[in-house]
Amino acid sequence: MDLFEYQGKQYFARYGIPVSPGGEAETVDQAMTVAEGLEFPLVVKAQVRVGGRGKAGGIQLADTLDEVRTHATNILGMDIKGHTVHRLWIERSSDIAKEYYVSFTLDRPNKVYIGMLSKEGGVEIETVAEENPDAIIKLSINPLDGLSLETAAKWVSDADLDEEAREQAAALIVKLYTCYVEGDCDLAEINPLILTTDGVVRALDAKVTLDVNATYRHPEWEVWSATDTEDEREAMAKEKGLNYIGLDGSVGIIANGAGLAMSTLDVVQQAGGTAANFLDIGGGANADLMTAAMEVVNADPAVRSIFVNIFGGITRVDEVAKGIIEALRRVDITSPIVLRLDGTNAVEGRALLEPHLNAQLISEPTMLAAARRAVDLAAAPKEG
């Protein structure tokens, strides 16, 4: 789950990482209320999960309440690289002397953590990596060793951060590491980490990705899950406990297993079509889950055919078949369904479905044949 900047800062604050005082707003009125409680000058920042807000005009300085109103009015509803701004974060403006960069994430090839620190912050780290790779000092951390203040102090010195920033930066970095590990982050990044003109080090931005597998031990994440999905289809799928990603095509996809679901998208494209979604019903799919999947895919108005691609492992094909039959009973499915069922109990599953097959419910023996059929049906003129 990717957090917005304001959520990331709230999370940082839980771990004692210094951030500027501020508040969130979803309307101009809320923005005014927040601004009244803060000391000017303020900065009004668009909350979107994409870089380049500043260049797009999504970050504005305000010296007066009137300016807050103007900026809030302009920024709310703004489109930044395809993301509509629904929220603002308003905080005390900082007098920046220096901008640094720090982050922690998993070093997948080496299966340890990797920290990255640079005295060249405030720009995309990918750009620094390309133009001046020596300015990024990497630190490999074994999860069993952790990060001591001593190591952090040496690290900020190796990265050549300004003398006056080093002590505060080292302490902050240890707290960020704790947030990364104990806070179950996939990524904890501060860009920029700033040194103010009056000598204070703090996080001016926050980029945090939470590991949803750890949700069970973080009740405090609950408040953020509501803002996690903005696509209506995805919100509906999430409510039903489905692993769904909305796409732009016309062939609805239901598959079991992430790999097979991805592969299903690929073969639909190879057959000349486009997928409307990624949907992995996972292991142990039962009738309820299958019904839910059918409902979600069917609710997408762009869907012209539905391709159900199941290879039973944990998922038993007879259970899937019961789910399909149940779904047809419960939901008015408006698009033709193409089935490809193989694996555990496939014979039993196919036998259950046999009496239900017709022009709207078609079974194909292979994945490629089913993909071609689903693509053909999606391209055909819609009846009624």
Binding site: Y216, G257, M262, S263, G343
Partner: protein, 294 residues
Amino acid sequence: MSIFVDENTKVIVQGLTGGQGRFHGVRNRDYGTKVVGGTSPKKAGTDVEGIPVFANVAEAVDATGATASFVVVPPAGATAAILEAAEAGISFIVCITEGIPAHDEARCYNILKRDFPGTRLLGPNCPGIISPGKCNIGITSGDIALPGGPVGIVSRSGTLTYQALHELSQQGVGQTTCVGIGGDPVPGTNFIDCLEAFEADPDTKAVMMIGEIGGSEEERAAEYIANHMTKPVVSYVAGVTAPPGRKMGHAGAIISGSQGTAQAKMDALSAAGVSVALNPTEAGEKMVAIVKSL
């Protein structure tokens, strides 16, 4: 021959008395796997369809001489179960659990590496391993695999592993061993471990490798293949159409920036001399052609 397991491998099932543990444990036993016991702290002394249940792994190992373990335990307890098995002297651990937090996996992996270098972990979040006709630990449906070789299969995805087995078996091409390494960010066993073992196995004549988007394991495998493999490799990488920045089901399947795309992986594999297919069916066809020409 086979890799990692064979017809003599004795297996215990951690979580045998749970729904999934019972279903797959009994299924593995019925396939012919030597499932010699299970563990459940509260149900020690009972049995599951004739498979004795022990209080913990150490007692199960003492009583049965098991060397392998099948972990079917919910995410919150899974890494503790893996470490319990390692401490009891188990040398091959298969964990199918999906949804383990990445930090738990990272800690568990590094503890195994530091304290139990002789223990191999397969998974988590993987379908397991099957050596057709000999041993099946995990959730793979035994009837889609065909004994006798000569193909070894290694895959990051569960259902695509079944698909690969199916494509080959239907054409009468058997498998020596099929290993599902799982789709999580910190897999205990990686592509290179399996490629190395297949290269060393005299009965394996060719290898099918199924990858997916995310990380750089396929690229690293390509480098290994170019430098160390003499046997032909056919590969398929899922997720050509996957959008960047979205986790495609597996925690590890995510394109970050330009890193981890299917195209980059396919290019790296092609450059290493691997025969790269565009879908699982084509991968099966390419492999059948290779086996016929051997």
